[in-house]
């Protein structure tokens, strides 16, 4: 373990944590990232929170970028990528502020990127049965439907366009990307519920996508922003965006060819 930490400090690594009114959780998440991934810098993107989210993060000695008003998770994440690009980071990791992602899995997540095996690595809940019990079963059945549809789409698309990159978890926000992808995301990143859409973009841009199995926890603090109406709207929107996106020309991998 010691050996691994030393090896990684040659690369600049950034953890991006977008946060919107997640008062209780970012502090814990930051602490765990510092503990489990000490080689990574942390930037919290405060997306116009009206609670103490920013103050808590500042106190924990993480970088905090305050957006002037709420832009949504897609734009907030993109801000993290803009920061990563400007400050010259080699690898960026997305971590949710609500505690669902386990920072202990970060070393495993970035390993394929470090080895140059993949441009994008996704932490998937569905590769192995790690007993991920969707607490959502208690709440919103429609959200599961949305997951399933995205899952099917992810699968089916992979089957049609590229048999190699079959993606099992299309809504996972727990991802690590390399420099080229950082640059790509800084230029182009989807807005609402960006996880499935960005996967399609990465795929069409030709980046190599890999998955590793992870365990996700139920949310600690803050409230989920998914209501029954929103999940239905989300499903339609994701499908629509993806299909229209398919009509566009494939996105450019890099500004310099």
């Amino acid at each position: 373990m010691q050996h691994k930490v030393v090896m990684r400090t040659n690369h600049k690594i950034l953890t991006i944590i977008p946060a919107y009114n997640e008062e209780d959780s970012p502090g814990d998440v930051i602490a765990r990232v510092k503990q489990d991934a000490p080689f990574a810098d942390i930037v919290v993107i405060n997306d116009g929170s009206t609670d103490a989210t920013a103050a808590i993060a500042e106190r924990m000695d993480a970088f905090v970028i305050n957006l002037p008003y709420n832009l949504g998770v897609g734009a907030a994440m993109q801000t993290g990528y803009l920061f990563a690009r400007e400050m010259g980071y080699d690898i960026a990791i997305q971590v949710d502020a609500d505690g669902q992602h386990d920072p202990a899995e970060i070393p495993a997540l970035i390993a394929p990127v470090l080895k140059g095996e993949a441009g994008v690595v996704i932490g998937s809940r569905y590769i192995e049965d790690r007993g991920y019990i969707t607490p959502l079963l208690r709440r919103v059945g429609i959200f599961i439907l949305a997951h399933i549809i995205s899952f099917i789409i992810g699968r089916k698309r992979s089957g049609v366009f590229c048999k190699r990159s079959g993606v099992t978890d299309t809504t996972s926000g727990f991802r690590a990307v390399n420099r080229k992808v950082i640059d790509f995301c800084a230029r182009e990143y989807p807005h609402d519920y960006p996880e499935p859409e960005s996967l399609v973009l990465f795929h069409r841009a030709g980046f190599i996508i890999r998955e590793i199995p992870v365990t996700m926890n139920p949310r600690y603090g803050g409230k989920s922003s998914i209501t029954p109406f929103r999940s239905f709207y989300y499903t339609i929107k994701v499908l629509l965006t993806i299909f229209i996106g398919l009509l566009r020309e494939p996105p450019v991998r890099s500004v310099f060819s």
């Binding site: 970028i65 305050n66 002037p68 832009l71 801000t79 803009l82 920061f83 400007e86 400050m87």
Partner: protein
Amino acid sequence: MFERVEITAILGSVSLLLIVLELVRRKRLKEEYSLLWLLTCIALLILSFWRSLLDVLARLVGIFYPPTALFVVGFGFVLLILLHFSTVISKLSIENKELAQRLAILSWKLHNLASKTDSGLALEEQEDEGANETAK
């Protein structure tokens, strides 16, 4: 001479034309957005005066009472204008978002430069030297 509905149409179009021109003159409406409005007024005026053209148009589209065609044309133009505005709003949203993002990052650089010039964060020092000079 003219039917009452035609007089109404003419007066309406002329009023709208004058209003749009005045708004542009006062710089409350940008010229580029006024183009479609002006085109609309002109089209309506022409059709109001040129009755036979209106009749042809009405028959072409399948409208029984020609003055209705006038309003249909007007409506069609309004739809185009609304669509145009939607594209303008989209562009503004995107530009707005990009500004907010850049502002946030710049703000961070500004605040963190002051407190961190002594520490080993060499990257920020190099990058922000220029900004620091101008900020002073």
